[in-house]
Symmetry: C2
């Protein structure tokens, strides 16, 4: 890592202020200390789902999936551009896409808005975005919390928690059946979604990027391109989860391609047909001087959702994808014996998820 | 409102920076814009529960309750005292108590930690507190999110979302059966719980309160007293919800006694037997020069949870309370025709919830 104007260049996510390793060890300290086994009369957590994209719990004969996520510092870009609809949609999408990754059908979510001031026009725009997200995921807003805590936040923090279920006796898709020879399909993302914005914003600042102008090769102002809301994969995933032979699903959000290793740590996910990332990704990488390893483990790099499918089920999976608005899905790799995630074209090898 | 040292004295919650009215109108703008009716295949929100303490949704024959809340700026007091276990417990309790108020049995929760840095010793203490909260509510930690967003928060924001269910065909307790003549039982709180800390901290600052010393009449340092974790009412409420004649339950958190009006806007809740608030409340009120109206609509004033009970069911309700660790519950008032919430001893009358 070089240095620039006397400060550390933000060539990595950690240098931009997000220390993923420190987070992992703090989190494991918390989880060990918090361990408690509740009586079965209060529901039974499904083992095996720990570390996956959503928690699962059996309640009165029904399995419920639950997951929580925040929009992160993408809101600071929204603030700068005074556009709130996109991050409202992100609030929904980032949560429901995690539910989709365990094969659950979305039911709804609660939102949490933590801010210094509540102002009606901003909240109305957030509401419009939330509505778009709900409509894309066909689910309900089930409640929310608005905390006015100016002493605690600079801007506005947007989070949510989503719940889903498994209709008609469908079983959660957790990846345990994945075997060597399975194929990996990928659904293109709509941009950076809502992950890695601390790094993105550092690049924008250090290189004084003018957000009002298009990047070379871009057609709209780069600020608009960067704010584009997260694609919602729930309808496609809901369909895939009903196809026998679809063995694993992954939301490629924070952690990028490493998310595949969450499905099975004892299989090797070889992404040998990963497509050229859209121009926006290459532009950010070049502008920031970010290395390939960093971008593939921080951003979605053009593919936001993946499905691991038995070769015999590829036809059925593709039909479902076409019928559910994801006809642009493509084969991006295959499963081998071993462990970790490879992206051979870029010479990358990741040992595991984190 | 007077002024002191050139700035507005913080005699009200609004003057301390929390404008509850602005929040209400911003929130209603958001909710109107977000309105969307999901197809029934994605679960059916239960009408009637809107505006209540938790959302309700029917999923595959099971009704699930969901609610979300944050610890708010009490964490800034935790930071100052370098004690994290208490607010970890608050994270759980503030959420599960809202579930308890619709008569749901707690299943579990996800936590959301939004912070600048993750450090293991702080996270371990938070984990210990979360464990206490889980054990008190007999529920599971079902997942969580840790967002490192130093550009967005000063300290650490702690939130959660809890889910619960209605065992054995029990119906949600939403207050619709409440009628004139019903009695109101109250369960004493353990202090300020986790609401109104923006106002509490302003009082502490303006009057340079030494947190290491007891207040007059106190036995432990006032900082310790102010940090005491929220009492968990779930076991008591779970028992009450199974008693025929228990017609309404309320968690008296943010909004204080006004929360009773959420049960039925067309009944009058007369709290004519409200007990003298514990010394800590009176001390804060005197120190800050806060008026009665403000403290009763901001803090729990000594009673953290209330149950509205038919006179014929009082004996059964008291037996359940004694058996479930709430033998200290007492009769605090009754229901009359009319609307709003009265606390006659302090000459207070509130028209509704907000």
């Amino acid at each position: 890592v070089g240095s620039r104007s006397g400060r550390q260049a933000t060539r990595t996510y950690a240098a931009s202020g997000v220390d993923v390793g420190a987070r992992a060890s703090a989190l494991s300290a918390l989880l060990r200390a918090a361990e408690y086994a509740a009586p079965a009369s209060h529901g039974r957590p499904v083992p095996g789902a720990s570390g996956h994209f959503a928690g699962l719990v059996r309640i009165a004969g029904t399995t419920i999936a639950i997951t929580t996520d925040t929009v992160g510092t993408k809101v600071l870009l929204a603030e700068r551009l005074r556009r709130w609809e996109e991050v409202g949609e992100d609030l929904v999408a980032s949560n429901v896409n995690d539910l989709a990754a365990v094969g659950a059908r979305t039911v709804g979510l609660v939102d949490t808005i933590v801010c210094a001031r509540a102002d009606a026009s901003r909240f109305r725009a957030l509401g419009r975005g939330i509505r778009r997200g709900l409509a894309a995921a066909r689910c309900s807003l089930l409640g929310g919390e608005t905390a006015l805590v100016g002493d605690l936040v600079h801007g506005i923090d947007l989070g949510g928690t989503a719940i889903g279920y498994f209709p008609g006796g469908r079983r959660p898709v957790l990846g345990s059946g994945i075997r060597a020879g399975d194929l990996i399909l990928g659904i293109p993302s709509s941009g950076f979604h809502a992950n890695g914005y601390t790094l993105i914003r550092r690049v924008l600042e250090e290189h004084r990027v003018d957000l009002r102008r298009p990047r070379p090769g871009g057609r709209v102002p780069v600020g608009v391109e960067l704010l584009r809301p997260t694609r919602t994969y729930t309808e496609a995933a809901d369909g895939l989860a009903g196809v026998p032979g679809v063995r694993g699903l992954a939301h490629l959000s924070g952690g990028g391609v490493r998310n595949l290793a969450r499905l099975r740590p004892d299989r090797r996910f070889v992404l040998d047909r990963w497509p050229e990332p859209p121009g926006l990704f290459g532009w950010l990488q070049r502008t920031g001087g970010l290395d390939d390893r960093e971008v593939f483990q921080t951003f979605n790099m053009g593919i936001g959702f993946a499905a691991v499918v038995a070769p015999s089920a590829i036809g059925a999976a593709r039909r479902v994808l076409r019928a559910r608005g994801a006809g642009d899905a493509l084969e991006i790799g295959r499963v081998e014996r071993g462990a970790g995630v490879d992206v051979p074209r870029w010479g990358l090898r990741f040992e595991g998820y984190a």
